[in-house]
Symmetry: C2
Subunit: 191 residues, 2 copies
């Protein structure tokens, strides 16, 4: 079974080594990991004329369509939430009605992370809602991230696995990822 | 034709008023705007036992499946990128092969916004790649946001409309949104 490995891992200093490490974990659990930078078996000729970012986007979409499940690295990225490219891909796979999983090496509660990010700009309004400096509400459901993410993972039969690590190991430790892979293998085996 | 209105607009102080304003623009262009907070015609009975965030997520997914196109408010939200819930929904609709559109009232270049967000933590590495303090690369394709977003909009036949506004009008001005609605109406009319 093929599992698409969504995540900001592609931005790491050595993304190919990272992809190989993630795939090795998948292989230990009997799954084939598909990394976004993998080449397609055959790229449509009509893509040749596309700008590079558009071609990469279509390649990633094709990888997702060709996978049985998706595992997203939801570790907070340049803000309180996960990387938006990763979350785009999670939504894409969710619409295909296949199981989606997530893991994160950050703090497990979205509200706490958002408050920490906003600092003094966050305040508890009279209606009991936390709001930022522009008056926009903070989600306070106890979710890992925006409710569309938590909701999709739950509804698809996936799981979220979290390890609250500090910056030194956030982009290297794969324990939460491996727990996620093990659960994905079990869900896919159960069919 | 029905257009799903994805965006962090739901977090504004008066989200129902905002939804009504967005729908009024859609109506002027012959489209029916669907706001995330709209009730479903009929909510499945089995959702009654779900936690609130999971029920909201499924409602939004149902709204998207019931729409002919999606227009996303991609104005940067608590970081250099768009709101992740919005981007999840954009990816979801893209997987359904329907046209997706985006608008933003922020700076039009993702790399510039990310550099501004990172400040001194961003530096130009010897290989010509901008990297953050953790060594992770910045996308530098000239896109509005992560390439999955720009790529999906382009491939689906949609457009991106941007107005580079300051904080005072970023969450009120609807000029870029209206241009987006006009283009969506034209694309949907052309079939």
């Amino acid at each position: 079974m093929r599992v698409y490995l969504a995540g900001p891992d592609v931005f790491l200093p050595d993304p190919l080594a990272r992809g190989a490490a993630l795939k090795a974990v998948c292989a230990r659990h009997g799954l084939t990991g598909v990394f976004p930078m993998d080449a397609l078996d055959q790229e449509p000729e009509e893509w040749a004329g596309l700008a590079e970012p558009h071609r990469i986007a279509l390649r990633n979409e094709a990888h997702i369509r060709g996978a049985d499940a998706l595992i997203a690295n939801l570790t907070p990225f340049r803000g309180p939430s996960a990387d938006v490219g990763t979350v785009f891909e999670l939504g894409f796979m969710r619409a295909l009605n296949r199981p989606v999983f997530g893991w994160s090496n950050g703090h497990p509660v979205f509200l706490a992370r958002t408050r920490a990010f906003l600092g003094d700009a966050a305040s508890l309004a009279g209606d009991g809602v936390w709001r930022d400096g522009e008056g926009m509400a903070l989600e306070s459901f106890g979710c890992l991230d925006n409710l569309m993410i938590d909701g999709a993972v739950a509804a698809s039969g996936g799981v979220l696995e979290v390890a609250d690590l500090d910056a030194a190991t956030r982009w290297t430790d794969l324990a939460a990822f491996e727990r996620c892979v093990a659960r994905a293998a079990a869900v896919l085996a159960a069919g």
